[in-house]
Assembly symmetry: C2
Homo-oligomer: 359 residues x 2
């Protein structure tokens, strides 16, 4: 008997991921470009052209004319690169980075990798960065201020214009991590992008709400000098320098991002955002009705205080769930999360609650 | 009219890449797993299991029982991680890394990113690492010695056992970069792997001679302590720590590597190596016959001194060619490089030479 061909799981019960099922056009493009390497752009020219298209489109999404940047492996790489560029551009001998506690853990990784002092500050009562708390720890060695537009845990949007003022006062750069939120925020009233404030660099991942296939992260920079600060020479490639963190990269990811942006920007993304936001508000209301303590979804992400036995019982029923550092359940309303899935989830929650309460 | 769907170029005239057309089984697996993220192993469990299979198989390829490691985005990430682990494990306050000049440029990038002093030493007359030259710059702060098993420019294999002795004397770790050579070397007499010497970490990329789809690099470690030195906490994921450099990763790459190893190790890789080596020797002989100065292919990679006008003329005919830092043409005999391609290349070379000489 032939061994079974390994199969990926479906997304049917995944409420925990910030990635999603790629759009059909994105999947088809990824399949066509599986064997290409944008890390070697002179050899693989067609994918290099697509990468420039993606960067240009991401500029449109984020309010930046003449954007610099590239398609990264994901948000972690883009965040590391933002911190690396700031470290390399500052004149401070012992540079530090100031970020709110809501920052993604990739900043801890970046600080450890790069040997930079990461100063974490408390958030405000709505879980957003507090500019005053950040100002307290900024000093002459601060190379970078970090704001988040759509936090990983609670989907909060930091006050980016206030953080830009802080960065300007400190002569530091400002990085906005919109890895997850970047494809929802254009359809909201938030001030988060390059056109709203003096943002220097940004992370925005096509493979999250952008519906591209993994790996397709996005790193954007307002100035070419940021890319220059990242470049190393590449003696063996046909091209002569490389500003990315990785070397060989996924042509599938690039082509997939290009196809998704082509297909979905802006109308498709607006529609996906409105549907996701409505789903988040629906499940938030359903959970509130049941007496749970729900943190309202500013973006399509609901956090809810759920007792441990309930969490475990739902996991046993096959739900893929994740928690915040404080232990709340996070429901990420990605495009693959339908109203039917959420209805089934709430039904299972009711069932499990009866069982847990009954024992 | 619909705009044309972007198409990748074919591999018909690519002699410059260390990547190749994926094996059909590898491509099929990549397509099945396009939407998965091994960076979140608890959510994406089926791909996490496949990743362990890949690491175990890579242990077989490299002579390591109970291997530690993971599927990286590529050789650059794996080399950065080797240097990072060494930096984090050493007690030296100002650690240095000693490597031969034949080292891949990713080590320059790693040193810059990690703030480590990279000491580059001359190679011997056969372009291999010179242990004596390396010993001259090793000191108490040396955290890592680097050897290459299949250099990027000339396909040379460094004397790994001698480098292991050097590392032991210096109380440093030993990293072997077999990113490209690792799937050819098992079928040669070279001493290069974990079973031949006290190698601590290794880079071996399934997406190069392993015939997996990009991105599927390999990072291997003999000791769990190396992985511990790389781990950061991951508060929002279902899993609790992450030792990779990137966050979200490509399930397609992992599944593709698993399928390629399943299909090709060891007989298929042996066959591919023998065919590639025969092709390399054939084209080396053809070039020598024509009076060119050829550097013999120890592994399936031929370097040849080619006048600039000839290089340009061949490029104009659509050949994708790359050069060494010294300017020699490199012909990388990857699995997609057939005897027919090489015959056509040599014919074009003859044509171009007549044209160039005739003007």
């Amino acid at each position: 008997m032939e061994p079974a061909v390994p199969q990926p799981q479906t997304f049917d019960r995944v409420l925990s991921s910030m990635c999603t099922r790629p759009h059909p056009a994105a999947r088809a493009a990824a399949e066509r470009f599986l064997a290409t390497n944008p890390g070697d752009p002179e050899t693989y020219r067609s994918v290099a052209g697509l990468e420039q298209d993606v960067v240009d489109r991401l500029g449109e999404v984020t309010g930046l004319d003449s954007p610099h940047g590239y398609v990264a492996s994901g948000g972690t790489e883009a965040n590391i690169q933002a911190m690396r560029a700031a470290r390399n551009r500052t004149e401070a001998a012992d540079p530090n980075v100031v970020a709110p506690e809501s920052v993604h853990f990739s900043f801890q990784k970046a600080a450890e990798v790069l040997g930079v002092d990461l100063r974490i500050t408390p958030v405000d009562t709505d879980r957003r960065a507090d500019p005053d708390a950040m100002a307290d720890v900024v000093d002459a060695d601060t190379a970078l201020i970090v704001g988040i537009a759509g936090t990983t845990e609670y989907g909060r949007v930091d006050p980016i214009p206030a953080l830009a003022d802080l960065a300007a006062d400190a002569d530091a750069l400002l990085h906005v991590d919109a890895a997850w939120g970047g494809f929802a925020l254009p359809f909201t009233d938030h001030e988060w992008n390059f056109s709203h404030a003096a943002v220097d660099t940004m992370t925005i991942d096509p493979h999250k709400l952008g519906q591209a296939a993994v790996p397709a992260g996005g790193f954007l920079a307002r100035e070419g000098a940021t890319m220059d600060a990242l470049a190393v020479e590449t003696p063996y490639l046909e091209s002569t320098s490389q500003a990315t963190l990785t070397g060989t990269r996924s042509g599938a990811g690039v082509a997939s991002a290009a196809a998704a942006l082509d297909e979905l920007w802006p109308a498709g993304y607006r529609q996906a955002y409105e549907r996701a936001q409505a789903n988040a508000e629906w499940v938030a209301a359903a959970l509130t009705d049941r007496g749970f303590d729900v943190i309202d979804p500013v973006l399509p992400l609901v956090a809810v205080d759920l007792p441990e036995p309930l969490f475990d019982a739902l996991t046993e029923r096959g739900w893929r769930l994740a928690r915040t550092a404080r232990g709340e359940l996070r429901i990420v309303c990605m495009p693959h999360v339908t109203r039917e899935m959420l209805t089934a989830f709430v039904r299972d929650l009711d069932d499990c609650r009866s069982a847990v309460d009954g024992t």
